[in-house]
Symmetry: C2
Subunit: 65 residues, 2 copies
DNA sequence: GATGAATAAAAATTCAAA
DNA sequence: TTTGAATTTTTATTCATC
């Protein structure tokens, strides 16, 4: 289910460093969530993640977002 | 000169939206600064730019950075 | 609508070379 | 030490399928 995967991604990002989508894929797989890179690319867009020098990060959201 | 190009990049980012490195390259070229994608990839790292849903953005820097 | 496989596009890196 | 050309790697998209 997508919403659970999104939650798992958020958690991973606050707890660990995620450098690229394949690393994210492997970390999710370690939690039993198996998806492909294409799906993670879409998730990253939907979650509005930022990619910076140290990897992916959660955005600061305005009220209501 | 790299430092001037970095300044130009910062200016472009606050004034315009830059979606990808080739667009950045073209906008810099419009200012007379001609470099390749490889150079811009390095600049982006050096400037610690973030890439988000709307394009590249300047980072919020801590004091002293 | 959500996903994967394949592909295209974008970005990072390597390897000269100045 | 900075850069470009070529290459590799990573990410986004397309095109089916469920």
């Amino acid at each position: 289910m997508k919403s659970q995967r999104h939650s798992a991604i958020r958690e991973l990002l606050v707890k660990t460093t995620v450098t690229n989508q394949d690393e994210l894929r492997r970390k999710l797989a370690g939690r039993g969530i198996h998806v492909t890179q294409a799906t993670l690319s879409r998730d990253i867009r939907e979650l509005k993640l930022l990619k910076g020098p140290t990897g992916y990060a959660l955005p600061v959201l305005a009220d209501g977002e």
